[in-house]
């Protein structure tokens, strides 16, 4: 081996350390980038070629084998599911915690209004001819109607707010789906031309993480470097380089709340995705909207309808101060649909409280409270669910409370699990600046030493030249 070759080999080896410094620098720069996996410049001995004498090989230094990503596939698979679950339960928990209409100590609650209404009936029962007490009954009936109105309004407002959230989430999902399809194409191209597109893989991983969070999608890699994206129900959002999309569509059967619809790329008929086919934030929000809040809203509607109907039926049988009967206390509702929203005091009774049907017969006299006692009896009347109004509202509150409580617990558990997995992933793939500083210093020392080799070999060459 000649001295010139030594200089050449040392020079070639320098490039490996330059690559290591560059990789460390890239790692440090991306230390906080979401989805970034630490890269490593792998050095390997250069194949020796020249032999001196018969049995000695002189090495030719070091060369760069490649720059690879460090990922733990075991953790990566689990983290996708954790992202889906955690985003789903957190979205439900956030959406449900904002509904304050059923708070036990809320002012203007149905509970208080129910108590006040029957108290006013009792007051009137003691002196049914008193106009002031009659007015109090009418006002307390109005308050009861208003309590139903505001409670259901708070619930339906929360459901509408969820619709708006869904609309913006679906837009984001479509953007990510398109970007995954595009990245699939670029990554496949790079891999087919023999390169490893580490940074493109990172960007795609970050998009896949977000898709798991938003809609619970899971990645299904193929053999060519592409990743298909599949919804929990099996619907394929991205197939290789072909993206499909999601759409929002109002559902008239569900008070115009929106459905999430799958629109295939090939223009085939869009299909409505039901709750079990979606996950992540979108699935969580749909579950909060249609399960927990939907059930609360319809229970409240049923309660408002059945209670007002029962009170009206009894009220119609009584007689007003002027001896007339068949008056309603609340406006007649056609059915449970939107009953809590539409419940209101009958305008005739509101205008003239003497129409409150206290008496048991037409000529009963102003002191007759026979029908009032029966009206007070509706307090303990069992409605269609076998519970009276007070028990019905208590059940509605506990059903809602239990759902929120369960979701909150699940959200806390899922968040902890996700934190653990994120830590595990970070431990495997994350950048430690300390590590990188050490690697930088290590590469720097090697680089310095190699330059010394060049200087020394050069001096040897000079010495040789001087002899000549």
């Amino acid at each position: 081996m000649d001295l010139i070759s030594v200089i050449m080999n040392a020079g070639a080896s320098l490039s490996v350390y330059r690559a290591q410094v560059a990789t460390a620098s890239h790692n440090i720069a991306n230390a906080n980038t979401p989805g970034y996996a630490r890269q490593e410049a792998i050095a390997t001995e250069t194949t020796p070629s020249s032999a001196i004498g018969t049995n000695a090989y002189i090495g030719r230094g070091v060369s760069l084998q490649g720059v690879v990503q460090t990922r733990d596939i075991f953790v990566e698979t689990q983290i996708n599911v954790a992202y889906n679950n955690s985003a789903s339960t957190a979205a439900q928990s956030d959406a449900l915690s904002t509904v304050t209409a059923l708070d036990p100590q809320g002012s203007g609650s149905v509970t208080n209004a129910l108590g006040a209404f029957y108290s006013a009936l009792r007051d009137l029962n003691q002196n049914p001819g008193d106009q002031g007490l009659r007015r109090a009954v009418v006002e307390s009936a109005k308050t009861l109607a208003t309590a139903f109105n505001t409670t259901v309004n708070s619930i339906s407002t929360a459901r509408t707010a969820i619709d708006q959230n869904l609309t913006s989430l679906v837009d984001k999902v479509n953007g990510l789906v398109a970007s995954v399809a595009d990245l699939n194409q670029r990554i496949a191209l790079a891999i087919n031309s023999g390169r490893t597109p580490n940074d493109l893989l990172d960007i795609r991983q970050s998009a896949l993480d977000q898709l798991a969070q938003m809609v619970g999608a899971r990645p299904v890699p193929d053999d060519h470097g592409s990743v298909n994206v599949v919804l929990p129900g099996g619907t394929c959002l991205v197939s290789g380089i072909v993206p499909s999309s999601l759409k929002i569509q109002a559902n008239t059967a569900n008070s115009n709340h929106v459905d999430v619809v799958f629109a295939p790329q090939d223009g085939a008929t869009p299909t409505v995705l039901n709750l079990s086919e979606l996950g992540g934030q979108i699935g969580g929000l749909l579950s909060a909207r249609d399960n927990t809040l939907g059930v609360a809203e319809s229970s409240l509607n049923t309660l408002a309808y059945e209670l007002s109907t029962a009170i009206n039926q009894q009220h119609e049988q009584g007689y007003a101060l002027d001896g007339t009967s068949n008056h309603d206390l609340f406006m007649t509702l056609p059915g449970p649909t939107a009953a809590a929203k539409n419940i209101a005091i009958d305008p005739d009774v509101d205008a003239d409280p003497s129409l409150v049907a206290a008496a048991g017969n037409a000529t009963g006299g102003t002191g007759d409270a026979t029908n009032l006692q029966k009206l007070i009896g509706t307090e303990t009347l069992n409605l269609s669910n076998g519970l009276n109004a007070q028990q019905g509202f208590a059940k509605l509150t506990s059903d809602f409370g239990i759902a929120v409580n369960t979701v909150n617990d699940n959200a806390a558990f899922d968040k902890n699990l996700l934190n653990d997995l994120t830590s595990a992933r970070e431990s495997a793939s994350g950048v430690s600046t300390d590590d990188e500083m050490i690697k930088l210093t290590q590469a720097q020392s090697a680089y310095n030493a190699l330059t010394k080799v060049i200087v020394t070999t050069n001096a040897m060459l000079d010495t040789l030249m001087k002899i000549i």
Binding site: P104, A116, Q126, G129, D130, F400, G401, N405
Partner: protein
């Protein structure tokens, strides 16, 4: 385990977030005095509190109406007391002027007094309480006794709740107590008859009224007994309802109120935990090899 700076940052964010959440929650409980602010905080307590809140309103209303019924019965009793005094005076007059030693002039003078106390009885029978005629039965918006002593009220008894769903008579039947009903004696008619007998100087007629007046006084006494018993029942209903209201209040408090001592302790410990988390974070974040390398 390999630990990176990002892990430290993220766990810092999680831990301070948790500490702050605990702190906010403890603060909210101390400030509001409530343990259950949302049904999700304690579904069972939230649900039970609905029943207790309605029950509390119910017992409060029963207590108030029972008190009003007792007050009204008290007014009725006072009126009956006055009417009994009138009946006793009529009895005295009948006893005195039934004696044959009195002549037509004396008896005519006595008849004037009887007419006077008759009017007094009539006015007591038409007493109102809170604007309603207490002896009118259901017809409580007009005077139940006409000037000629006829009863124009009805025989219905007004009822007020003493316990949920349990009603107790809260008015007296004047047609039985005063008018004698089907088998008793009519006080007003007896007094009119007495007055007529006195005017006509009919000694036998005057004496005949004596037994009827005694019967009337007994009838009135029976009426007052009924009023007294009903009043007692309402008074005991008032105190039962007040106890029940207080009891429901305690139950609601137990379910929903925060234990202030416990909440304050948790507030202090949450503050301490947050402060410790922040100090530990500050120390961890200040350690990096980059700072040490020259």
């Amino acid at each position: 385990m390999r630990v990176t700076e990002k892990m430290i940052f993220e766990s810092t964010i999680n831990q301070t977030g948790k500490s702050r959440e605990n702190l906010a929650r403890a603060q909210e409980q101390v400030a509001s005095g409530s343990r259950v602010l949302h049904p999700g905080d304690d579904p069972v307590a939230a649900s039970l509190s609905v029943g207790h809140t309605v029950d509390k309103a119910r017992y409060t209303a029963i207590g108030q109406t029972a008190q009003r019924a007792a007050d009204e019965l008290n007014a009725a009793d006072t009126a009956l007391d006055g009417i009994t005094a009138v009946a006793n005076r009529a009895l005295e007059i009948a006893t005195q002027f039934g004696n044959d030693s009195y002549g037509p002039t004396d008896r005519a003078t006595a008849a004037v007094e009887v007419n006077g106390i008759y009017q007094q009885a009539l006015s007591l029978l038409n007493s109102t309480y809170g604007g309603r005629y207490i002896f009118g039965g259901f017809k409580d918006n007009a005077a139940p006794f006409a000037a000629d002593g006829s009863f124009v009220g009805d025989s219905n008894t007004r009822e007020v709740e003493v316990a949920p769903g349990l009603y107790q008579a809260a008015s007296l039947n004047a047609d039985t107590i005063v008018k004698g009903g089907t088998s008793g004696v009519d006080l007003l008619q007896t007094m009119t008859d007495l007055s007529t007998s006195l005017q006509q100087n009919d000694a036998n007629g005057i004496r005949a009224g004596l037994s009827n007046l005694n019967l009337c006084i007994n009838q009135l006494a029976a009426g007052r007994t009924i009023a007294g018993m009903a009043q007692d029942q309402f008074q005991s209903a008032v105190s039962t309802a007040q106890d029940a209201t207080a009891d429901e209040k305690v139950k609601i408090g137990t379910l929903l109120d925060a234990d202030i001592l416990d909440a304050s302790t948790r507030l202090a410990s949450a503050q301490y935990a947050l402060s410790a988390t922040l100090s530990a974070t500050a120390k961890t974040l200040s350690m990096s090899l980059a700072d040490k390398l020259g």
